[in-house]
Symmetry: C2
Subunit: 209 residues, 2 copies
């Protein structure tokens, strides 16, 4: 409803800022532009959020939590490891599809301002440890049983994240280099989710060389 957008300026500023920061990053987004797009005076942005930095931090934190949550959901169901893993990969892929600009946004802000990394570490707390450990235990049990070749949890996680994010990050460049149409790219995207599951599951088998 338009009541929300019209009435609550604070919220409208937050939403527009989120959109712009995700599109252009912290540095290239000005409070002037945010205000222009919202349709309010530039000083109002500072009235509600004091500084551009604080406004950004509020948004950054929210997005961090969304992203991390997508990969690290503890799954207590008693199903085979590979099935569980397949689910994790798919839910991660879906989360990125929902917010395709998030990965590049993180990489940029993290690399352009190291204080964001500290912020990230502080906000996350014990979460990653806890959930990585659960996955790690399950993985090591499978390795012990001989179902899966020896590998670290970090290798597995990195492979999953790599495969899942790049199709979204690289979309404009990939389209330009390959000259494939938007339609073809959509088809490719649709295949990726299944592809990625397949690639990861196959990679768990013992090395054949």
């Amino acid at each position: 409803m338009s009541i929300n957008t019209e009435q609550n300026m604070e919220q409208a500023i937050l939403e527009t800022a989120t959109k712009l920061f995700l599109e252009k990053g912290f540095r290239s987004t000005s409070t002037t532009e945010i205000a222009r797009e919202v349709g309010c005076n530039q000083a109002l942005v500072h009235y509600y959020y004091r500084t551009k930095e604080r406004l950004f931090e509020a948004i950054f934190e929210k997005k961090i939590k969304f992203f991390i949550g997508s990969l690290f959901k503890i799954d207590h169901e008693d199903i085979p490891f590979e099935k569980k893993l397949a689910r994790k990969i798919e839910s991660h892929f879906d989360a990125i599809k929902e917010e395709p600009k998030l990965p590049l946004f993180f990489f940029n802000e993290a690399s352009s301002n190291p204080s964001r990394l500290q912020q990230l570490r502080d906000k996350l707390g014990e979460l990653p440890d806890l959930v990585v450990n659960q996955m790690k235990n399950e993985l090591e049990a499978e390795i012990k049983k001989g179902n899966i070749r020896p590998m670290t949890i970090y290798d597995l996680l990195m492979s999953i994240v790599s495969l899942n994010i790049v199709a979204f990050i690289a979309e404009p460049i990939f389209k330009t280099i390959t000259k494939i149409s938007d339609e073809e790219y959509l088809k490719l995207l649709k295949r990726r989710k299944k592809e990625n599951v397949h690639i990861i599951l196959n990679s768990l088998k013992p090395r054949f060389t």
Copy 2:
């Protein structure tokens, strides 16, 4: 004692600009900062390159050619497809290791300024078509022979690029989230090259589900 003052200023400016653009991107790098780092007057940057835009374009083009060349080298040797593919993956990985900031740099500049994409397309010309087609033909021959499951060349390429670049792009974030040490990260990086080859080669086999 800066080499800069003694030697070719034009070259010194180009090198410093390259370093800064790669680190911080076009928008966040100022000609003022370039000059400060080189140790010359800010107007000198404009004397040699007229505008910040032209200076950037010279650098961008050079880096594009390096990056594309690393993945798309035609290999005429008559060795098995999988062996050839393994070599390609490894040489691509090595190229990125040599210039680890390049992938993020491209994604950023391409997404923050679409005119860069046009520039990229113009500079590349027929190169991608030619080399993708050669790889595509070899892949399709293998599929026909039944050695490899049906898949498109774009899926294969995307999987390779995905696996190879993310360990470099995500280094700061990954270290922060996992809290692994620099030493451990180095070990992880060393494993990745072999891992990625293994993952790709295994993924060529028919789907087991």
